[in-house]
């Protein structure tokens, strides 16, 4: 019999390694829970119940997945060019503020134009923010990981400044916000569901990115840059434009996530925008191995964990940081699993 082709091995590996790493991560977290005297069975039971158990919990989970999909794209797209951009939070925050400012100053456009205007301003601001990271990397060799995270801190300071100052609605006393959006500027729910349209936008963005990266010449060029930057330069590819352009696209998606949060959830831009979606997005992108379609199920899974956070706090008397610990452990597990790439002979194992 002929040897199993390597391509099959790699296919299986691409599924088996992350799934295995996820399982190991969840098991290690179960040990952690036992160490602090809590029951892992109860924990995972509650996660299932609150995240995926009923139609209501599915709706809650899927609504939370919307910003996570876009935040994960902000990590996964640059990663395909070999860039580790982790400051998506900054683009989310500024995208939200841009949308809020647009809604405040350009009124009476009607639903379609109004929402479109908010989306475009959020995409432009987010795209500029992360595009800058790519351009700085190419032009000046500035490390993109550090610069993007610094820009995230700057973005949050900028948001606080704008929301507390020039853009503040005097009526917002306890929580400084921009003025509430008019009803026509709010993104509504998908008919028959208790989920806003953000989910559909997020999924479409993932599919669009998948086609762009895997099926177009631009995406192919981007992957060459990620594989071997010298080779890309020798081939005469516009490396700088590719880096800045794909980073800008990634930032545009993150900005859009902020806009959706403002238009569909909060109704105005305020401090809740810095809710850590950017950081959960990092983990999702790495778990999905920067595959744009794999982001969809992974984001739903993590959204389910986040949706169950409240119930876990109440029922098990655990702090809200429990989910952060779980995410950190799974993240490390997934990174360690990289070391087994190409070392497992899974298809042979399968046959024997």
């Amino acid at each position: 019999m002929a040897r199993a082709p390597d391509a099959l091995d790699r296919r299986i590996e691409a599924f088996a390694l992350p799934l295995g790493a996820l399982a190991v991560g969840l098991a290690v977290f179960a040990l952690f829970l036992m160490m602090v005297g809590k029951s892992p069975a109860e924990f995972y039971g509650l996660v299932f119940k609150a995240g995926f158990g009923t139609a209501f919990s599915w709706e809650n989970t899927l609504a939370r997945a919307a910003p996570l999909l876009l935040a994960a794209l902000c990590v996964a797209i640059p990663a395909r060019l070999g860039l580790v951009v982790i400051g998506g939070e900054g683009a989310i925050v500024l995208g939200g503020v841009a949308a809020g400012a647009f809604g405040m100053h350009v009124t009476g456009l009607g639903s379609t134009l109004g929402i479109l205007g908010m989306a475009v301003s959020a995409i432009c601001v987010g795209g500029l923010w992360i595009g800058m990271v790519g351009a700085l990397r190419y032009k000046r060799g500035v490390n993109e990981t550090i610069s993007s995270l610094l820009l995230a801190y700057i973005a949050i300071a900028l948001m606080n400044h704008l929301v507390e100052g020039p853009l503040r609605d005097p009526a917002s006393l306890n929580k400084p916000s921009t003025a509430p959006l008019e009803a026509a500027y709010r993104i509504g729910d998908i008919p028959g569901w208790d989920i806003h349209w953000g989910l559909v936008i997020g999924i479409l963005a993932c599919i669009f990115s998948f086609v762009l990266i895997e099926r177009t010449t631009w995406g192919f060029s981007a992957r060459i840059v990620g594989g071997n930057i010298r080779a890309a330069q020798i081939q005469g590819l516009p490396v700088g434009w590719l880096m800045a352009g794909f980073c800008a696209l990634a930032g545009g998606f993150a900005g859009l996530a902020g806009m959706i949060e403002v238009s569909a959830v909060h109704g105005s831009a305020n401090g809740s925008l810095a809710g850590g979606y950017g950081y959960t997005g990092i983990l999702i992108a790495f778990l999905a191995r920067h595959n744009m379609l794999a982001i969809i199920p992974v984001a739903v899974l993590l959204a389910g964990f986040e949706a169950s956070s409240g119930l876990i706090q109440r029922r098990m008397d655990l702090p809200d940081a429990t989910i952060l610990v779980l995410q950190g452990i799974v993240f490390i597990s997934i990174l360690i699993s990289e070391t087994f790439t190409g070392r497992l002979n899974l298809s042979r194992l399968w046959r024997s």
Partner: protein, 308 residues
């Protein structure tokens, strides 16, 4: 002396005092990162180590009523984080930058998890040395109340500089950082040197965190760190991997961080939130100014993934 003159002096004094107070964690974290990076590895997870150090230092100081026990606990916790980072990065195909990000998230998660019960209670503070005793002006005295850890940090910087320059240990770290092949040829275990350098770096970052919760701002809460652990990475690049330069860089960053509170102390509150961005903007500008695409950054350890 005019009215405006006094205002300027107050701001300047407040900034000097603030620079000393704010810079201390920067000194420790950047020295730790410097040590790690000179061995050829980068630890982006020091932000998480810092936050966990702040929490564990505060918790232990509260439980034992001794601030120094807290500092020791924070250093130990940092060592554990450093050892873990060093061990994981030894595995083939594991990216030290990505592991750093993961450890940053895990460190913060664990700190918030275990730190919840310690947000209310009050732990003992670290002692300060009143270096401004000669002055009759209360502002000068306040500005020059220097914490013991600040003095220790400066001494440590000179010690590490001496270590790199004139000892065998320093030479081994430098060789490992510049060329792992050369180090292997000399019979040095590259992984072990990096493991120890990362562990020592983690310990220093932990102490930096303990300073945050035990002296300035002096209490434990979830917003205690504002990215000092991350800025330290940029600071080390700016300091050209020289421990003594780290002091100056840290003071500069400290002054930038003290700008907002200093302005507020004389009643200027316009742009208060914006002034929070000052240290990050400064870091970014310095990073842009010191990076280059055409040549490796001057003085950079040859094995460092961040400058390749």
């Amino acid at each position: 002396m005019g009215e405006g003159d006094l205002g300027l002096w107050t701001v300047l004094l407040a900034m000097i005092g603030g620079a000393i107070r704010v810079s201390t964690p920067f000194i420790f974290v950047s020295l730790g990162e410097c040590l790690t990076e000179r061995s050829g590895r980068i630890n982006l997870g020091l932000e998480g180590t810092l936050v966990f150090g702040a929490m564990s230092g505060y918790a232990v100081a509260y439980e034992t009523s001794s601030a120094w026990a807290g500092v020791l606990a924070a250093a130990l916790a940092g060592t554990v984080f450093g050892l873990f980072h060093g061990w994981v990065c030894k595995l083939p195909r594991v990216n030290d930058i990505a592991i750093g990000i993961a450890l940053m998230l895990l460190g913060m998660g664990l700190a918030f998890f275990f730190g919840k019960p310690y947000i209310q209670p009050v732990a003992p503070d670290l002692p300060a040395i009143p270096l401004g005793f000669w002055s009759s002006s209360p502002q000068v005295e306040a500005a020059l109340r220097v914490n013991v850890l600040f003095v220790l940090g400066i001494a440590l910087a000179f010690f590490i500089a001496w270590l790199f320059r004139s000892t065998r240990i320093g030479l081994v770290i430098r060789v490992v950082g510049d060329s792992s092949d050369a180090a292997r040829a000399m019979g040095i275990s590259v992984d072990r040197v990096r493991l120890l350098a990362t562990a020592a770096g983690g310990a220093l970052a932990g102490i930096g965190g303990a300073y945050l919760s035990l002296y300035y701002p002096g209490s434990w809460n979830e917003g205690i760190s504002s990215g000092q652990g991350l800025m330290a990475v940029a600071l080390v690049i700016f300091a050209r991997w020289n421990p003594v330069n780290c002091i100056w860089a840290a003071l500069l960053f400290g002054a930038a961080g003290a700008l907002g509170p200093a302005l507020q102390s004389i009643g200027i509150s316009k742009g208060y939130y914006l002034s929070y961005a000052a240290p990050y903007v400064l870091t970014l500008i310095l990073l842009i100014a010191t990076s280059s695409t055409t040549r490796a950054v001057r003085c950079a350890p040859g094995e460092l993934s961040i400058t390749k």
